[in-house]
Amino acid sequence: MQELVDGLIRSGLAPAALPAWVHYLVAMLVFGGIVVFVFILPIAGITTWVERRVAGRIQSRIGPNRTGPAGFLQWLADGIKSLLKEDIVPVAADAPLFKLAPYVVMTGFVGAFVAIPFGGPLIIADLNVGILYVTAVTALVVVGILMAGWSSNNKWSLLGGIRSAAQIVSYEIPAGLSIFPIVMLSGALSMQSIIQAQGWEPWRWNLFHNPFVFVAFFIFFVAALAEGNRTPFDLPEAESELVMGFATEYSGMRNLLFFMAEWGNLYVIGAIVTTLFLGGWQIPWALPDHPVVRTVLQFACFFLKSYFWVFVAIWLRWTLPRIRVDQMMIMCWKYLVPIAFVNLLGTAVWMVAFPAGLPAAQMALFLLGVALLGVFAWRVTYHLRRAGLTRAELSFNPLSTARIPW
């Protein structure tokens, strides 16, 4: 980033009369704006469309399919509608806090993208405390949610806000404890260093480094879902009990900001999981050496891996019912936290026992992962067979709107 701006100043494209920090500031604003409007907001929006399509197919429906090809422009239509709606502030609400809350939530979410890599050299700032920064800045969301819950002056909002605070603060612990083994393995907090410490081959990913990290991966994913207020942990906005939780009193654009943060957070979760456990943007060295081609391939690799986990989160949401508050707390404190501690100690012991890693164990874990996927695929076909479906009742085209035959 800085080199780019320095280059621009030297080449005379930027007026040299101004002090350098002005150039840096303008460059940061422009680049931040580009990333927010070209990448983050469309990703959050398109994820709503993906979610509704996937939900539709899981429930044997079609989902939105009228706005644009396969309903793809639905997210734009919804966004414009929300922008044009009346922005209501309840009379009894604490107006300044009420108005500020969505921006705090949005800041916590967009702030995470500062340290999240996009592929190869593409990263806004490769902070040397990268993953620590990401966990810290995403925890800012809880301040905004608590603010929204309190200032709405509504019992549902307040309950939602408090539940969210309890949930996010609790699940920070297993999430943090599952990040530690990775930090120990790569010896760095910087996102790029963590990725570079892994290889492009799946068996050289952190995920398969040792059995403890393998378990830590699942703990991290569950804890991250809980932090992102996703079903089955969407207690803060449980529709059936709390109407919409902390967002009950919000309308129009402010409501949209909450939901944008929620769906955008899915991508953040996917990107962090990909960075920590799944080899990030590493692609085989055999691929073409042209820097632009490589960067595009690395971007595609990282994006697809991240977006796969967005899909998994959506899929999980439409599979599991919401759990109770006490179950959520039991799961965190009695299961995830102790196991995460075991993982931390186990990884430390493993690193002492095998300072250079254990390739045989990595390969065995990789094969175990493949076997688990195979068993899973067999279960899927088992359920399909048990439903007694004919070939005409199946459709592998995700955008298909064809009904079962008459």
Binding site: I58, S60, R61, W318, L384
Partner: protein, 184 residues
């Protein structure tokens, strides 16, 4: 809680979640059941013809076989049926001057079609009831005063009424009776 239970809980959670996800994934590759109303149907197919058995659409009355017994009016929980019938010696029985069903009020519960002795009042598969005013949603079936139907001993002989009555009785048996088999 012993350590064995603890481990079993973890195992159960992992296996049931994984199997649940296998179920939902198997749904992802099935075709949707949605009927895209009204413009994505195959040529010549009306949605009304594809509706399942016992679909409760807009009510209809066959005045030819209505006995003016008022059973439906009494059965209606929200009084959307209004019938005016008077004894008229000259005409030879009950004469109906009014049989109105207010579709704006009707909640399609089907309670009126169950007590009907001849199946005169019944649901149709029609459901497109949108209109521009509440007034026009009141269906007035009696255009001119009409003599109520009287069941004849030994079955209906009038060739015009007989098929209507036969259909009405079939409706009562198959559709409106709670003991009827739920299928065709």
């Amino acid at each position: 809680m012993g350590f064995g239970t603890y481990l079993r809980n973890i195992k159960d959670a992992a296996l049931t979640i994984a199997d649940g996800m296998a179920v939902t994934f198997s749904h992802l590759v099935r075709r949707p059941y949605t009927v895209q109303y009204p413009d994505r149907l195959p040529d010549g197919v009306r949605v009304q013809d594809t509706l399942p058995f016992r679909y409760r659409g807009i009510l209809e009355v066959d005045l030819e076989i209505c006995t003016a017994c008022l059973a439906c009016e009494r059965a209606c929980p929200i009084d959307c049926i209004v019938i005016d019938a008077e004894k008229d010696k000259a005409a030879g029985g009950l004469v109906m001057t009014r049989f109105d069903i207010d579709l704006a009020k009707c909640m399609y519960c089907g309670l009126c079609s169950e007590p009907c002795p001849t199946g005169a009042i019944h649901h149709t598969p029609e459901f497109e009831g949108a209109d521009y005013s509440l007034e026009s949603m009141v269906r007035r079936f009696v255009k001119a005063p009409v003599v109520a139907y009287k069941p004849k001993k030994g079955g209906e002989t009038d060739p015009e009424i007989a098929p209507i009555l036969e259909r009405g009785m079939r409706y009562v048996e198959e559709f409106a009776s709670p003991d009827a088999p739920a299928g065709k």
